[in-house]
Structures are given as structure tokens and as C-alpha cells.
């Protein structure tokens, strides 16, 4: 038996604000194998981001068991979780989150700052990642001079430059028009063929149709799990 890259068993997340409790995620069971290309669909507020954030170790589940590469995440220290974020996880946001005062290259280098890549290798690695996303000629630009699609490519380059096994994307095309979205999806397919595991949260049918496997969510629950 081979342990899946990610395994959630009965994972839940409850937000508490004063008297009010929100069960953003309830009893989620999910296994993601290495090389999977998975999309998570569902209406707004159904718990997609909550699930993705827990998977990315950006948030903590409040019930159930989550194993990342076989490790019980609930028992990891803060330092170990941070270490995994630096080395083993790539994350892409809908809002890009590029530093506006830094060049494209510097933004990509940023994600190697807290990891193990030696200083001397970082520029070359970043240039390689930019080449991979087709932005070699934009390395010296400030993000403000890039189009939305280009910005998201920079964000993807930043996420993959540390060579994590998995790329987690929260509505990566949510801010892009459909043509640009399609080119981003093509990039995902290329990355996937390099062996990267990709999880994409979306409420765009077109995006999820490109994935091999689609999870449907509703009111904090995983309601469907279909393979194309």
C-alpha cells in the first residue's frame, strides 16, 4: 500500500466568534495521490477555501485527522508546519499577492528566502521558474507593468520554484478573463505532466472540466467525488 500525499479523515473546521459557531467544514474525507489533478467546486461559502487552507497548513482543522505525506499534521509543532510550508507546499492565491515594490524576479526569489536553497542558487532557480511559466522577458519588471494573467504566472513561478510536490490554488483564474484563464490552465497541464500534484479551487465549470477529478462541496461537506 502506498500512503497518499494527502489524507483527510473526518476533518472539520469550526469558526467561533462569540456565541456564533460556523461549521465551515464538516467531516471531510479526502485522499489525494501524487500526480492527481483535482478541482474543488461548490457555491460561495461552501467551505472550499477552508478545505484548501487546512490542506496548505495555513489553517488548523478542529476535528478529524489530516495526514500530509503520512505525517499526522495535528501533532506537528508550529515550527514543523512552517517548515513544511517553506519546503513542501506551493500556494497560488486569487489575488496574486505579489510585492509591488519588488521586481518579478525578486518576487519569485522571495519564496526561497525561508527554505534551504542557497543564496547563490536562487537567481538561477527563479529565472528557471520564470522560463517555465513563459515570463523570462519580464524578470526585471515591476508587477504593476504586468497583465493579470502575467501576474498570476509570476505567482505560479513563485509557488513552484521551491519544487514542492503539490500546488494548491484558490480560485487562480477568479480575477482573469476566459482567454487568459485558459492559458493558465494549459500551464497547469504542463506542470502536471512534470509530475506535480495540483489542486484547484474554482466555481468555474470550464476550469473544473479540465481536471481529472472533481470534488463537489456543499455547506461544508464533500458531496461528490468524480473522476473524468
Amino acid at each position: 500500500m502506498s500512503e497518499p500525499l494527502i489524507r483527510l479523515e473526518g476533518v472539520g473546521r469550526t469558526f467561533r466568534s462569540g456565541e456564533v459557531e460556523v461549521n465551515a467544514l464538516r467531516e471531510a474525507d479526502l485522499a489525494i495521490d501524487r500526480g492527481d489533478y483535482l478541482s474543488i467546486m461548490g457555491p460561495s461559502g461552501s467551505g472550499k477555501s477552508t478545505l484548501l487552507n487546512i490542506t496548505a497548513l495555513l489553517d488548523r482543522h478542529t476535528s478529524g485527522t489530516y495526514r500530509f505525506e503520512g505525517r499526522d499534521v495535528g501533532r506537528l509543532s508550529e515550527g514543523e508546519r512552517t517548515g513544511l510550508r517553506a519546503h513542501r507546499i506551493g500556494f497560488v492565491f486569487q489575488a496574486f499577492h505579489l510585492l509591488t515594490h519588488r521586481t518579478v524576479l525578486e518576487n519569485v526569489v522571495l519564496s526561497m528566502l525561508y527554505g534551504s536553497v542557497p543564496r547563490s542558487d536562487r537567481k538561477a532557480r527563479a529565472a528557471g521558474a520564470l522560463e517555465r511559466v513563459g515570463l523570462s522577458d519580464r524578470a526585471g519588471f515591476l508587477p504593476s507593468r504586468l497583465s493579470g494573467g502575467e501576474r498570476q504566472r509570476v505567482a505560479i513561478a513563485r509557488a513552484i520554484v521551491t519544487r514542492p510536490p503539490i500546488l494548491l490554488c484558490d480560485e487562480p483564474t477568479g480575477s482573469l478573463d476566459s482567454t487568459t484563464s485558459r492559458s493558465i490552465l494549459e500551464l497547469f497541464e504542463e506542470l502536471r505532466s512534470d509530475g506535480l500534484t495540483i489542486v484547484v479551487v474554482t466555481h468555474d465549470q470550464m476550469v473544473s472540466s479540465r481536471a481529472e477529478r472533481t470534488i463537489a462541496m456543499h455547506d461544508g461537506r464533500v458531496t461528490q467525488d468524480t473522476r473524468a
Partner: protein, 423 residues
């Protein structure tokens, strides 16, 4: 306990590959902090302003106080700081308990290390005797004067820092032989109308004649010498039955005054030194310290307050900057920065602002000291530690000011901070 836990974890990770920890190399920390500061240079400069003013005020204060204190002390050193005067106690105890200063006080004191010169002296009671410079009384003009007589040992001349207009001072030989010689103080000489001594002028004190050997132009101590007719002690003993000197003027080396003030009474009255009254200058160091304390107290408070205000300014702007950069913090956390790494970055930024402000402030402060000194033609004096310590103080203020904002920054949860700016 802790070690065992770590070992247990070690075993677990042996079975499963160890999780590499995230790190933030010093060089990266420095570059990131500098990049943060240079991203908003105008704001960084404004932030530093508080530290600039505070440190400038402190450095200027210390420097001006240093300079002024030094100035006062150096003029003071020359005169008072080298003068010790011994007198017999003329207090309430009555004449019978009053001890006499010995005739050889001068010799005893000049043997002490640190004494440059010493001279004993005493007023000589002349009764009704008047002083005149001509043998015959001229009925047409006033030729007789009431002039005080002082008997003094030869050492009084150097000890009082006297200067002669003409002639010479008498010596121990004159005193031992009880020669009838005298030195006239400049005021006395003027009244007696004597300006030259080469013709060996004679003055009459009552019926006793004295040959004038010198005229005293000025003294820096014991100014009553200038209006007196000064005669050797031996002479006064023989003619006027003078009992003992009443005052000893000592001139010490710079810095030796307090030592001599302690040793002098023992030298002249070994049996009962406590009956000798001592007039000594305040310790030069004490005086310097006192002057500086007075100046410092006020301005240090001023500098301290401006530094405090500067620190609060840095803290405020750093906090604003933290709140503005919530999404950057979230991003860094998502990329693998630990809480510590976030805290270090903001701490180093505020420390950098403080250090920069401290350096500029130090330069301004030193310039102020130089300018003030130039305006008053003083020699600028600055403790050499200040130009080094002041920028560090600025850095320390920046560090302190950054503590709270850095703590706030480190406590953000990555999800919250990323969401906060998603729209």
C-alpha cells in the same frame, strides 16, 4: 523533560524523513529589512526624524556641558585651584588656646611634595607710628601716612605670585640678620611717592628707618600686601616683638591642593593640627562635575523627552507600517516564514531607522557643539565615547520602539492576514 521530548521526536523522524525547518539567514534578514525601508524612503526618513532630534539634543547637551565645564575649570585651575591658606584658629576658644604657627612654616611646607611655594606672614601692630619717606616733616604737604606693616617670610613672594615693578625681594639672610629692609606694595609706594629703588630710598616708620629694596607691582593672592610695607619676619621680631606668623599662603601644583590642605596643618602643627584653619579650593573634579550636572540635568531631561517622543514616533509608524503590510506578512507566512522571522524583520527595520536617526542626530549634535564653541571661542570638548554610543542609543530606541509592532506582526494568522487584503 524537554530533551527527552526532542529525542522522542528524533526517533519518529528517523522512521520518517525529517521535516526541514524554515530559516531566515542573517544576510537575508538584513536585505529584506533594508528593502522594506527603501520601499518607502520618505516615510522611513520621517520616522527617523524623532530619533534625529532626540539624539541631536542629547549629544549637543552633553557636548556643550562638557565644553563649558571644561572651560570653567581650566580658568579656575590656574588660580584658586592651586591656593591653600593656613591660619590659626581665631574662633571662640580664646587667646590662650590659640596655637602659634612656627617661624619655620615656610621651610616645613616647601618640603611637602606638591608645594610650589609657601610664605608665612603676620600684621605688625605699629601703634600710632606713621610712615614717611623723608626725614623731616614738611609742614606744607602731607608727608606722613598710616600704612599697615606686614611681616612676611621671603617665600610669600612666589607663593602670592607677586610681580615686582623694580628692585628685588629680601631673602632669608636679611631676616636672620634682622636687617632693616622693606618691600613696598604698589599702593604704599605711590602714597610715599617712591618709584625707584636704585638710590636706596629710605622710609621712616616712626623713628625706625628701613631701606626700600623693591616695589611690589601686583599679587594674585593676599592683595593686602599691595597697600602695606613688607618687612622680613626676623626684623619684625626684633623691633616689634612679633610673636608668630598668623597666616601661611601656599601655592600648590595643579591637582595637589586637596592633598596639601590635608597635610599642611600636620606639617605646621603636628601636635594639634585641628586648630589650624584651612582654606582650600573645591576639588577641580568636583567643580567640573557640579557644573556639568547643573547643565546636564536640565538638558538631559530635554534630550530624554525628545528621544522618548522620537521612540513613540518610531513605534507608531512601525505599527502603521505593520498594519499596512498585513498581506505581505500573510504571504511571507504562507511562503514558510515563522513568527520569529516576521518579528525579526520588523524589529530590524525599526532598529535600522533608530540607528540611522542616531547617526544623523549625532552629527547634528556634534556640529552644534562645534558651533556653540566657535561662537564663544571655547575649545570644543566631547567625550570620545559619545559619537560611538549615541548612534547605538538611537538603534536601541528603535529596537525598543519596534518591540510591540513586531509582536503584533508575528501574531497574525496567515489565513486571516491573506484574507484581510484579498479584495
Amino acid at each position: 523533560m524537554k530533551r527527552r521530548a526532542r529525542r522522542a521526536r528524533g526517533k519518529r523522524s528517523a522512521a520518517m524523513s525529517r521535516i526541514p525547518r524554515s530559516r531566515f539567514r542573517v544576510l537575508d534578514l538584513v536585505t529584506e529589512s533594508l528593502a522594506g525601508l527603501f520601499a518607502r524612503p520618505g516615510r522611513s526618513l520621517l520616522t527617523a526624524l524623532g530619533a534625529v532630534l532626540g539624539i541631536a539634543a542629547l549629544v549637543a547637551t552633553l557636548g556643550v556641558a562638557n565644553t563649558a565645564g571644561n572651560q570653567i575649570v581650566s580658568t579656575f585651575d590656574e588660580l584658586s585651584a592651586t591656593s591653600v591658606v593656613l591660619t590659626t584658629d581665631q574662633g571662640f576658644s580664646g587667646a590662650n588656646t590659640r596655637i602659634a604657627l612656627p617661624w619655620d612654616s615656610e621651610q616645613r611646607l616647601t618640603r611637602l611634595n606638591g608645594v610650589v611655594a609657601a610664605g608665612s606672614m603676620a600684621d605688625v601692630g605699629l601703634g600710632n607710628a606713621l610712615v614717611r619717606s623723608v626725614p623731616i616733616i614738611d609742614p606744607l604737604g602731607q608727608t606722613e601716612f598710616q600704612i599697615p606693616m606686614i611681616a612676611a617670610s621671603p617665600g610669600i613672594y612666589p607663593a602670592s605670585r607677586g610681580k615686582l615693578t623694580t628692585g628685588r625681594w629680601y631673602d632669608h639672610g636679611h631676616s636672620e640678620r634682622a636687617d632693616r629692609v622693606a618691600v613696598l606694595g604698589s599702593a604704599a609706594a605711590q602714597r610715599l611717592n617712591i618709584t625707584r629703588v636704585d638710590q636706596q630710598p629710605v622710609v621712616f616708620v616712626g623713628d625706625v628707618s628701613f631701606v626700600v629694596v623693591g616695589i611690589l607691582a601686583q599679587v594674585e593672592r593676599q592683595p593686602e600686601l599691595l597697600s602695606a610695607i613688607i618687612v622680613p619676619e626676623g626684623t619684625a621680631r626684633e623691633i616689634y616683638k612679633l610673636k608668630s606668623p598668623s597666616t601661611v599662603q601656599i601655592r600648590t601644583e595643579v591637582g595637589a591642593a586637596s592633598l596639601i590642605a590635608a597635610q599642611g596643618p600636620i606639617a605646621v602643627a603636628p601636635d594639634d593640627p585641628s586648630t589650624v584653619r584651612v582654606q582650600a579650593p573645591p576639588e577641580a573634579e568636583d567643580l567640573r562635575a557640579e557644573v556639568q550636572e547643573n547643565v546636564n540635568a536640565l538638558f538631559l531631561i530635554l534630550g530624554g523627552v525628545s528621544l522618548l517622543v522620537g521612540g513613540i514616533g518610531i513605534a507608531n509608524v512601525t505599527l502603521v507600517s505593520v498594519l499596512e503590510r498585513v498581506s505581505e506578512i500573510g504571504l511571507r507566512r504562507a511562503l514558510g516564514a515563522g513568527r520569529r522571522h516576521i518579528a525579526y524583520q520588523f524589529l530590524l527595520e525599526s532598529t535600522g531607522v533608530g540607528l540611522f536617526g542616531g547617526m544623523v542626530g549625532t552629527s547634528l549634535g556634534v556640529l552644534t557643539v562645534v558651533a556653540v564653541s566657535a561662537a564663544r571661542t571655547w575649545t570644543p570638548v566631547l567625550n570620545p565615547a559619545i559619537p560611538v554610543a549615541a548612534p547605538l542609543l538611537g538603534a536601541a530606541v528603535g529596537l525598543l520602539a519596534g518591540l510591540y509592532p513586531a509582536l503584533r506582526a508575528s501574531l497574525f494568522e496567515p489565513v486571516d492576514s491573506l484574507r484581510a487584503s484579498a479584495n
